[in-house]
């Protein structure tokens, strides 16, 4: 039991003190890792955006300004924390934590390395591997919404209220597309456990990159997952919830000091967690080619290489988010809803159907070259019919004279 799970969190069965200590150690490491990652990500974001915008970016605190985030955090601790008179004080205080906790918890089921041996115990490099893994992720991203919503509502102020209304609508509608896009992966792998999904995408040869990893097998779902995840994390171009130019700060307009910093932390942590989930579900998690000239069971290939591959993929995705932030204008509220309801949800439904056909065809030994194109063709026809039923809104673009 304790081998299947990273360790049984309920401490049932045959568990000695070593296992408990390993779990505690892993918890502390994951917690610290996530905080350091956030710190690093914010610095990375500021540096890369600065580069894209012909600026220098932070360069005073520490080498290359790498401690800038730490300095900001310390500053936030010493700032006054004001609460508006009209605020619901209890909920106002609670909201930041509601927002930050799920972000922490979701990261605990991400496999960041392979199977290693610590003090004679075989264990996976991930904090927990519950059998409901992916459902747990969806759950956590759903709870994270409450933090944002309650913060806006409890502020007792107009701009945050608008922000939280936007947040609830946006997150609810994108949750649907998000969940549906994950289903394709579940159908392919046949398991909900994140470790199981990562193992299903294990690296066997260089072909694994295309044939085993789900980004290519379920390419449509991957694209939808990325779009929905960007919207779920309120990241530009979907950052309407806090749209500075419209709602000043959106739900966190009234927050100051460390409470604001916690929202900030949660937001960036969500970006990291979502990227990590994308890596796990679609990009093979920690799998990748090992260093052949070193022993197969040595420290480098068992410990380091999977971690290296995981973080390399994570960095690539994080760089993508920074790129989005630097280059795109913001969508409008109704356009965001249009995109979510009229495109993403229906396409992800069709993608689930196509995946179903593909998986059944694989299991039943049907001719793949007939079943798959037929399923795709059917999906495109249905999509076309659906689009025809929808009202269209065309704005003419005039010529410059």
């Amino acid at each position: 039991m304790s081998a299947v799970l990273a360790a049984d969190p309920l401490l049932g069965g045959d568990i000695d003190l070593t296992v408990v200590l390993i779990v505690i150690a892993k918890t502390v490491v994951i917690f610290a890792l996530l905080l350091v990652l956030v710190m690093f990500y914010i610095w990375f974001l500021r540096k890369v955006i600065a580069d894209m915008q012909n600026r220098v970016g932070p360069d005073n605190a520490g080498p290359w300004g790498i401690l800038q985030t730490l300095a900001d955090g310390i500053k936030f601790f010493f700032k006054e924390q004001s609460i508006p008179d009209t605020a619901d004080r209890w909920v106002f205080r609670l909201a930041p934590y509601l927002s930050v906790l799920p972000a922490f918890l979701a990261f605990s089921i991400i496999p960041i390395g392979g199977k290693v041996s610590i003090a004679g115990h075989q264990t996976y490099l991930q904090l927990a591997d519950p059998p409901i893994g992916v459902l747990f992720l969806l759950m956590m991203s759903g709870i994270g919404l409450y933090g944002v919503m309650l913060a806006g509502w409890a502020s007792g102020s107009k701009y945050p209220l608008l922000g939280s209304v936007r947040a609830s609508a946006q997150l609810l509608s994108y949750e649907a597309a998000f969940g549906l896009s994950v289903v394709a992966v579940l159908l392919h792998s046949g398991t909900l456990s994140t470790r199981g999904i990562a193992n299903a995408q294990a690296w066997t040869s260089w072909h694994s990159f295309v044939t085993d990893w789900y980004w290519s097998v379920a390419i449509v779902s991957f694209v939808i997952f990325v779009i929905a995840a960007v919207a779920e994390t309120n990241h530009p171009p979907f950052d309407l919830v806090e749209a500075e130019q419209e709602l000043v700060g959106g739900f966190h307009t009234e927050y100051t000091g460390i409470r604001f910093a916690i929202f900030f932390l949660a937001e960036f942590m969500n970006v990291i967690t979502m990227s990590a989930i994308a890596v796990t579900l679609f990009l093979g998690g920690p799998s990748g080619p090992a260093l052949g000239f070193l022993p197969k069971t040595g420290v480098v290939n068992v410990w380091l290489m999977p971690i290296f591959w995981f973080f390399l993929k994570l960095m690539a995705l994080l760089f993508g988010t920074v790129w989005l932030r630097a280059s795109l204008p913001r969508l409008r509220y109704d356009q965001l809803m249009d995109l979510g309801w009229k495109w993403l949800i229906e396409i992800s439904f069709l993608a689930v159907m196509v995946t179903g056909v593909v998986v059944v065809a694989r299991d039943q030994g049907w001719e793949r070259w007939i079943a798959v194109p037929a399923a795709f063709g059917g999906a495109i026809v249905i999509l076309g019919l659906l689009r025809m039923c929808m009202p269209r809104r065309d704005e003419p673009v005039s010529e410059v004279v």
Binding site: E246, P329, Q335, P396, V397, E399
Partner: protein, 445 residues
């Protein structure tokens, strides 16, 4: 006597007092934020005038103040919006937060000092304001400025237009969430301001165009500086075009948003890019040429839709037209004096003050009392980046104007905002205010 007045006469004294009290109460309620203000669809009323219609019953709307402290209100504009959900039912701009009485100040300043005052009105394109002020004074004095001075003024006006439109591109991008655009716009604007600084000595508020000509001749090597900045800005606007014009999100946000028709724009006295975006090709540089605009080749950019996207493109392509004019100015700059050689208007050169008693006296008189301007009134206009900027001036024959009024195009353009914003979403409101491109210094004066 119409019906209304007739009724009013017939009411007895007590009722009249009560009515007055009620009216006062209503007026006060209207002045407060939470009062039941301007309630229904009212495009026509905004355009044609008239009282706001009253509504009955409880309203489910929320009144929200955008500004005067808000990230996207371009200074201290306050917009009072009535929201139904996220839809703006009505919006009205409230101005005056930057009012510093500059027009009144203008009456205390001599004609020599006047430029320092007007240049601070439209701080994004100060040359245009100095230009109309100087042109008005010259019309009253009945002097003709030398040709070189005219061309220098035109060169600076176009550089200033470039800087102003680049600022618009920057702030417009920022308002719609394209943050990189803000820095790209500022990058090029900074280069243009550097040229202006090299010529005038200051980045903004130049006080360079003065009655009778300009303050100094162009510095050595100005041709290369101007041509370099033209190339640089040309490359820059190409980048903006690549970055934004074809971007689907950008199109979604801009096309069909903030539409205003030609009739509405004309009725609201809008000018500049807002009027041109409706298909009315009105550019004072072409329609009533001043300076030497009839001798250079450029096009008036106009479009048909009257939406935010059109205004964005008009401003983008106008930068290219300005580049064209600047290049022609470099080619065709005539030689000669940069200001009128009239000792009563222009101060003597610094060296002459040491040699000549008369020069010293003239210098002293000019900078203490200024020069006298014949009695009369006049109105001078120019096309600023934002539209028709005009200066109405009345002189009583002394050294100071008794009335100096500047027609700031932003003030009139801002009126169109209410019409454009109606029944759009809050986010569109931001895009619309941005596309009006108001400079509050000019609105409040």
């Amino acid at each position: 006597m119409n019906d209304f007045e007739h009724e009013h006469v017939e009411t007895d004294a007590d009722a009249a007092v009560t009515d007055a009290a009620v009216a006062e109460q209503v007026r006060l309620e209207r002045q407060t934020d939470e009062g039941e203000q301007l309630l229904t669809q009212h495009s026509e009323i905004v355009v044609t005038g008239g009282p706001w219609p009253e509504v009955e019953g409880e309203s489910q709307t929320m009144i929200i103040n955008m500004g005067p402290q808000h990230p996207s209100t371009h200074g201290v504009l306050r917009i009072m919006m009535e929201l139904d959900g996220e839809t703006v039912v009505r919006a009205k701009p409230i101005v005056g937060y930057l009012h510093t009485g500059m027009e009144k100040t203008g009456e205390q300043l001599t004609y020599v000092q006047g430029c320092t005052n007007v240049t601070r009105m439209d701080y994004a394109s100060p040359i245009a304001n100095e230009l109309v002020f100087s042109m008005a004074v010259e019309q009253l004095l009945d002097v003709t400025v030398p040709e070189r001075a005219t061309w220098i003024r035109m060169l600076l006006a176009e550089l200033s237009r470039m800087a102003s439109h680049l600022l618009f591109q920057a702030s417009n991008g920022m308002d719609l969430g394209a943050v990189s655009m803000m820095l790209f716009g500022w990058r090029e604007r900074e280069e243009v301001l550097r040229v202006l600084e090299k010529v005038t000595g200051l980045r903004m508020n130049h006080n360079f165009v003065r009655p009778g000509g300009v303050a100094a001749d162009l510095p050595d090597g100005w041709q290369d500086t101007c041509l370099d900045v033209c190339d640089l800005v040309e490359r820059g606007i190409g980048e903006y075009d690549d970055l934004l014009t074809g971007n689907p999100i950008w199109l979604e946000r801009m096309v069909g948003v903030g539409v205003i028709t030609k009739d509405e724009a004309l009725a609201l006295a809008a000018s500049g890019p807002i009027l041109r975006s409706t298909g009315f090709a009105w550019d004072l540089r072409k329609t009533q040429p001043y300076l030497a605009y009839d001798q250079v080749d450029f096009d008036v950019i106009y479009t048909e839709n009257g939406d935010c996207f059109d205004r964005y493109r008009i401003r983008l392509y106008e930068i290219a037209e300005s580049i064209k004019i600047v290049r022609q100015c470099v080619d065709m700059m005539p030689s000669g004096d940069y200001r009128v050689q009239n000792k009563k208007i222009t101060p003597p050169p610094r060296a002459r003050i040491d040699e000549s008693m008369e020069a010293l006296i003239h210098h002293f008189k000019l900078f203490t009392e200024g020069f006298r301007v014949p009695a009369g009134e006049t109105y001078a206009v120019a096309e600023s980046p934002r539209g028709e900027v005009g200066c109405y001036m009345v002189s009583d024959g002394t050294g100071k104007p008794i009335r100096m009024h500047v027609r700031g195009p932003s003030f009139y353009n801002l009126q169109t905002m209410s019409t454009m914003i109606e029944n759009r979403m809050v986010a569109d409101g931001v895009a619309i205010v941005s596309s009006v491109d108001p400079i509050m210094g000019e609105v409040d004066r």
